[in-house]
């Protein structure tokens, strides 16, 4: 088999030394490998967006049908990876290198959109969440933010009722949001660790939401010409105590998001929100991101929406 893309960072590590790992989890369109340093490497099917520390395969196949199993050993050589007890070899010597670093507004290729237009797009995003989003994840909890964040009324409907599960997490969620809005880096590690891992999926809903919030902070800071160091500091506070609080896949995703490193569709969505690009582009990536997992995409979009509103309100003195 052949890879079409490989993340730059992973490729560099492999070129420096031989990496060994074992299969951690297998799904239809992807599988994950845990290396000797407990870092997760993802193999993605051709329809999946490139993501940090990943290799994307050219062939359209089901990894479940390939006979891959948890625990199988892999060795990453300079040009290919071989999966121990199988005949499977994946070549990446001709793959494109994909850089997961955030594309910030210091890059001259990006032209900022006006704040008015960004607000308009956020309003479209809210409509999208309402009309197309999957509501079984973080969505009902956003109702509790009604009096905390300016301009989010659109997302709320008095008919939304919290289930027992949402009632259970509500106070902790509000406590986290309070420390996030006030940028309290002392309280954030504790309040974030109390909400991480809430939700049903392999990347629980709250974690997806937090990823959206963190990535949007990096991009909005760049868009608004704010101090990026502070943005990284806040995000670091959020992930400080998350180890072993959630699934390994989710933990890795959150760590990457805290640095603004997200998969290519997620990245394109934030860029199309803030940069002067066509509205079709924005809508296309909203749809693509909303297709992630079951509720994951909507949870991420909710994070981007709330995170962006908080940053813009703060900037505008709201």
């Amino acid at each position: 088999m052949n890879a079409t893309d490989i993340s730059k960072e992973l490729y560099k590590v492999i070129q420096d030394k031989e990496v060994r790992g074992q299969i951690h989890s297998v799904f239809d369109n992807s599988f994950n490998v845990l290396d000797e340093n407990s870092k997760l490497i993802s193999f993605l099917g051709p329809n999946k967006p490139m993501a940090p520390y990943s290799i994307r395969i050219k062939e359209k196949i089901s990894f479940l049908d390939l006979g891959l199993e948890k625990g199988q050993q892999l060795t990453f050589f300079k040009d290919f990876v071989s999966i121990g007890s199988t005949d499977i070899v994946i070549h990446y010597n001709k793959a494109l290198l994909w850089d997961s670093s955030p594309i910030l507004f210091q890059d001259k290729r990006l032209a900022r959109d006006s704040i008015e237009n960004v607000f308009t797009k956020l309003s479209l995003m809210a409509e999208f969440i309402l009309n197309e989003g999957k509501k079984e994840g973080i969505f009902p909890l956003l109702k509790t933010l009604k009096d905390k964040i300016k301009y989010i009324d659109k997302l709320f409907d008095d008919t939304i009722t919290l289930s027992k599960k949402e009632d259970f997490i509500k106070d902790r969620f509000l406590s986290f949001m309070d420390s996030y809005i006030s940028e309290d880096v002392e309280k954030l590690p504790q309040s974030a660790s109390k909400v991480v891992g809430y939700g049903i999926g392999l990347t629980p809903s709250m974690d997806d939401f937090l990823s959206g919030i963190m990535a949007s902070r990096i991009y909005l800071s760049s868009y608004l010409n704010l101090d990026l160091k502070k943005a990284y500091e806040i995000n670091e506070a959020i992930i400080k105590n998350i180890n072993n609080k959630t699934t390994l896949v989710s933990q890795e995703m959150m760590k990457c998001s805290s640095r603004g490193e997200v998969n290519e569709d997620f990245r394109s969505l934030i860029i199309s929100l803030l940069a002067n690009r066509g509205i079709d582009d924005f809508y296309k990536y909203l749809e693509k991101v909303s297709d992630f997992g079951e509720t994951s995409g909507t949870d991420i979009i909710c994070g981007v929406y709330i995170g962006s509103l908080i940053m813009l309100n703060e900037y505008l003195g709201g």
Partner: protein, 518 residues
Amino acid sequence: MSSVKYEIRKNTYYDSVTLMLISKEIKKIDGVKEALVGMGTDLNKELAENLAISNDDIRNLSPNDFFVTVLADDNVQIETISAEVDKLLSNKKKSNESDYMPPTLESALKHEPESNIVVISVAGEYAAAEAKKALNNNLHVMLFSDNVSIEDERELKELACQKGLLMMGPDCGTAIINNVPLAFANVVRKGHIGIVGASGTGTQEVTVIIDKLGEGVSQVIGTGGRDLKAEIGGLMMLQGIEALKNDPQTKVIVLISKPPAEEVAEKVLKAIENSPKPVVVDFIGGDRKLIEKYGAYSCVSLEDAARKAVALLRGEEVRDFEGFSLPDEEIEKIVDREVAKFDKTQKYLRAYYTGGTLADEAMKLLSSSIGNIYSNIPLTPEYKLEDVRVSKEHTCIDFGDDEFTRGKPHPMIDPVSRVERLMKEDDEEVAVLLMDFVLGYGSHEDPVGEMLPAIKEAKERMAKKGKYLCVVGSVCGTENDPQDLRESQRRLEEAGVIVMPSNAQAVRLAGLILNKIK
């Protein structure tokens, strides 16, 4: 007695789509009162504790362990839960062998260059642009999306007319083209009755009854609900009429719509005047004399429209159908039996519909016999419910209307809003509950199963107070629909629901019962 039952799969990962599906299905198992499905994160473990469905094994899980824990009646075996999980995982694997899904119209056309119709379901603000793109590619359009401006609708339909294409919609809920059901549609046998419909469930009801009577449809063309408004001028109904007139498979034409704007009604009726094919028109509650003036057959209900079309096709006598399929004596017996069970204070109707046109038909058929009906889609503005979430005296609710679907799926897809309303309401003066159950593609996989627990509980609640709740319903579905029509009817009857063969008959029966109470 209830107890906690659980299943743990160490170091096992499922994707979130699967986990959500498992969670939903486990909750549906009879006897399951509370359920939590997920990975063993600290938070999920705390949540299990909080819901009183935890134990030491669950407390010791790691975030990379999958678990299901439930509070269930003692007769529910953990093996049932495990079997359900395995069944869902195996179904999921099969369904993952999916086809290529093109992300844009361009790639879809590259993939299927022979296509000549496109179904569009995107957010309203983008729908018109997509539809225009499709029409410019000489494709017929079924536009499922709503929230398209009336100006855009007019422009799109004018473009379609210039190009000789169909522009079905916006907000077009149903169509059957060359025997292929699109969006919400039933599996109706192929035949010689062609329909142009401006109302979704109204059209479905007519097609289903045609099928039940042993005939079939040639084409079912949807127009969208606003087509017969003055601003649009019935452009697509006129286009549809022409298409059916020229279709050799179509022998009888049926037109269905809520009462159109007067000038549009005249325009449409002129288009069928002197039609070589007989035309049945149901402008639900509209002016029958006007229809007959142009040589078409007018109707008293959707069922009547279907029956007239079948009679015309078969060369049989055409007459109004205002009665029941069962003999009158049988109906009288049912009415007497039900009325005898009520308490003296019970007198009101609750009509809870997932189909908007069916709700509208119910109010039109009932208001002359039982009096005014409050609604979120009232016949006259003074009977608009002040708060659509609170019923009052006789009430009819269309759960598919905007107030109930904002941010949520349509109740034909997910009937939760109707279930919750029934579970919550506790009006002791209610005598009759009237309901529809719409089967077919697009609808929930088991609309009856979703409602049954709420119906049973509502009946039990009333019984505990020494009252009786009469539930009358109709199932809009065919033998070949994916949801199993017969089984749906059987389960409703087993739960004490009187199942009538059409919405009109269910409404009439409810009317007779309520009048007899008076």
